[in-house]
């Protein structure tokens, strides 16, 4: 009997859809990695790259594959900034607080995002639309202060630009909804 949860006996109904998908994926992914402790971080990275976070079951499966305890996987994963344990929002906002951005008022930008969304740094809005996190330097210091919104670097941020970004999101969302409605109507 497997000592730890390896995801084998689990049914889709036990979990939400996302986690179920992650587990199916990991089953395919793990055999590609040699059972070597040095592969722990690369495995976690490839899971997160695809699924944006690490579910508990995922970490237990990795532990089983590498013959180490889930505690060890958890201990390593929680040490590094890169790993997340909850699904992030649809739009990921990263506010740079590198030295140059700090001097240029990066904390004010972060505060504006937090206030606008009613969440704190590291959190996700309840509707899972947005998550905000602070990052230490994205290396675009000449554009400070900088925010990275969905992988796009926004340089020379200002509180009013924060507002502008949300107006854009709003427009996009409305357009999507409209298109969806139109599609449904035509069907």
């Amino acid at each position: 009997m497997a000592l730890y949860n390896d995801g084998v006996g689990m049914a889709p109904s036990d979990l939400d859809h996302e986690e179920w998908e992650m587990i199916q994926d990991i089953k395919v992914l793990l055999p590609g990695f040699e059972k070597h402790r040095g592969n722990l971080i690369p495995i976690l990275q490839s899971i997160q790259e695809k699924h944006s976070y690490l579910a508990s079951t995922a970490m237990e499966m990795v532990a089983t594959h590498l013959s180490i305890t889930p505690s060890e996987v958890f201990g390593v994963a929680t040490f590094y900034n890169q790993f997340r344990f909850h699904p992030p929002g649809k739009h990921q906002i990263k506010v740079c607080l590198g030295t140059a951005c700090h001097v240029a008022g990066g904390d004010i930008i972060l505060e504006n995002f937090e206030r606008k969304l009613g969440i704190k740094d590291g959190e996700t809005t309840p509707d899972r639309e947005y998550s905000v996190e602070r990052v230490a330097c994205v290396g675009c210091c000449a554009l400070a202060p900088v925010a990275v919104v969905d992988e796009n670097v926004q340089g020379h941020m200002q509180p009013s630009k924060v507002e502008g970004l949300f107006v854009q999101f709003q427009i996009e969302r409305e357009r999507e909804e409209r298109e969806k409605a139109e599609r449904e109507a035509s069907e």
Binding site: S56, E60, I68, T69, S71
Partner: protein, 221 residues
């Protein structure tokens, strides 16, 4: 045997021993929390066992120094004491002493160290800091009290030695570091069967066993 001089007294010890080991064997107490005799590579994290060695310009930790013939060591210089007291105060600032409820009050290492350093169990002139950790955490066979934990890492080490695996590990990072246990296995399935090595070695009463569960695990190995 190697001969060395500690606080003007000649002591003898076996080659290969650490300086801290040599002193403790010879009845010279040097404050320490993370030292384990059998540990090959010292953890060197508590930063309490500072000593001064003739010929070195700054204090070093005794756990990381190997003994050498003719070494001249001082364990109570003002610099040594200053560093030890600061390290101790730093630890106490995250370890509010609750003498009334403390389960290990008599045997607590911190009390012994405080007496040795002639300081109180408070962090003065530093302030208490809020570690924002839970009061108590359920770790299958134990209850873990993060506020009491000084993160010496002895439990993590003995767990690995005893079971070949780390059922206990450090989790999180930096100021948020705690001792963690993770996984969905039932207590009876854990390979340690409640071996208690971790709770026994804990110097500050941060791991308190749950007798009922251990009994059960021992009965159904």
């Amino acid at each position: 045997m190697i001969k060395l001089i500690v606080d003007d007294k000649e002591i003898k010890t076996e080659a290969g021993n650490s300086l801290l080991q040599a002193c403790l064997e010879n009845g010279i107490f040097i404050p320490n929390l993370c030292f384990i005799k059998t540990r090959q590579h010292p953890h060197a994290s508590c930063r309490l066992c500072f000593v001064e060695i003739d010929g070195l310009d700054r204090p070093v930790t005794a756990c990381t120094e190997k003994v050498r013939e003719g070494l001249v060591v001082k364990t109570d210089t003002p610099t040594v004491r200053r560093l030890q007291r600061t390290a101790f105060k730093l630890l106490m600032s995250g370890h509010p002493c609750e003498a009334k409820v403390c389960p290990v009050k008599g045997s607590c290492q911190l009390i012994r160290i405080a007496k040795h350093l002639k300081v109180g169990l408070n962090p003065k002139p530093l302030e208490y800091i809020d570690r924002e950790v839970e009061e108590e955490v359920d770790l299958t066979f134990f209850t873990y009290y993060p506020y009491r934990c000084v993160l010496c890492g002895k439990c993590v080490y003995v767990c690995r030695e005893k079971n070949g695996h780390n059922l206990l590990t450090f989790a999180q990072r930096g100021f948020d570091t705690v001792i963690g246990f993770f996984g969905s296995a039932e207590p009876v399935d854990l390979p340690c069967h409640g071996c208690l090595a971790c709770a026994t070695i804990c110097p500050t009463g941060a791991l308190i066993p749950k007798p009922e569960l251990i009994k059960e695990a021992k009965m159904n190995p």
